[in-house]
Symmetry: C2
Subunit: 163 residues, 2 copies
Amino acid sequence: MTSQQLSVKVAMNSWRLVAERAGKTFSNFTEDELLKEVAPGKNRVIYVWGHLTAIHDAMLSILGLGPRLHPELDAIFVSNPDLTATQLPSARELKKYWDEVNTKLLSEFARLSADEWFERHHAMSEEDYAKDPTRNRLAVLLSRTNHMSYHLGQVILARNSGA
Amino acid sequence: MTSQQLSVKVAMNSWRLVAERAGKTFSNFTEDELLKEVAPGKNRVIYVWGHLTAIHDAMLSILGLGPRLHPELDAIFVSNPDLTATQLPSARELKKYWDEVNTKLLSEFARLSADEWFERHHAMSEEDYAKDPTRNRLAVLLSRTNHMSYHLGQVILARNSGA
C-alpha cells in the first residue's frame, strides 16, 4: 500500500468509526428521547439527526459523487433552526434516510481512487484549488467527520445514562 | 507537494482548526460558566477542559514526541470522573497548561517528516503495526481531532448564547 492509499484508508476508517457509532446511537434512542433537547433550550436529538443526514447527503454533490438523495431535508434541518418546521419526518423515516445516505456515501467512497481524494471538491473553482491544493475531497471528509463528532458529543448527553 | 505531504497537511489543518476553536471557546468562558455542567448531571466545562488537556498531553508519549508536560492531570481528569477530585486547577492554571501542551504539540508536529506520520504510534508493538499499517501517527491525530470535536460540541452548550 502506498502512503497515499494509506492516508485515504486512515481517513475512511475514522469516518466509518464515527458514522457507525452515530448510527447506533440515533437508532437506540426511543421516540421520547428523540424529542429531548440535548441541553436546556438547545436542539432536540431528532433535529440533530436530520441535520447530520442532510449535511451528509450534501457531501454527494460537494464531492461530485452524484445527485443528492434527500435535498428536501435542507429546509427543515439546515436552513432553519429547530422548532420552526411544522412537521418533521418520523423516526422511522429518518432512520431510512440516514441509512440510505450513509450506505450510498460508503459505496461511492470505495469507488474513488486514492488520487481522486486529492482532487478539488466541487464547491470550489479550479483557480482556487490551484492556489490551495489542501482544499480537496480528503479535507471535506475530515471536516465532515469532525462535524459529526461534534454533534455526536451533544446527542450522547440526552441519553439516560453514560457520558 | 507530494500527495503524502498533502494528506499530512490536510490532517494538520483539521487539527489546528478545531484546537484553535476549542482554545478560544474555553478561554472565553467566565469562571462561573466553567463551573456549569454541559447538560444537567453531566461533566462541568472545567472538567472537559482539563480532560482534553490531559489527553492532548498524552499524545506526546503516544506519538513518541518526548516526555509529557503534565501527567499529573490524568488522576483528576482521565482516571476519575468529574466531582471526585477535592481540588481542580484554577482556570488560569488550566489555560496555562492548555497553551503549553498545544503549543508543544504543534511545534513537534512541524518537526515530523511526512514519512514519520505513517510510522506506527508508540502505544502499539512493531508486530501489530506490521499486521495493520493504518495504526500510525496519522490515525492517532485524526482520532484525537474527533475526540476534541466531540467534547467541543458539548461545552458549546454551556455558553449563554449560540448553538
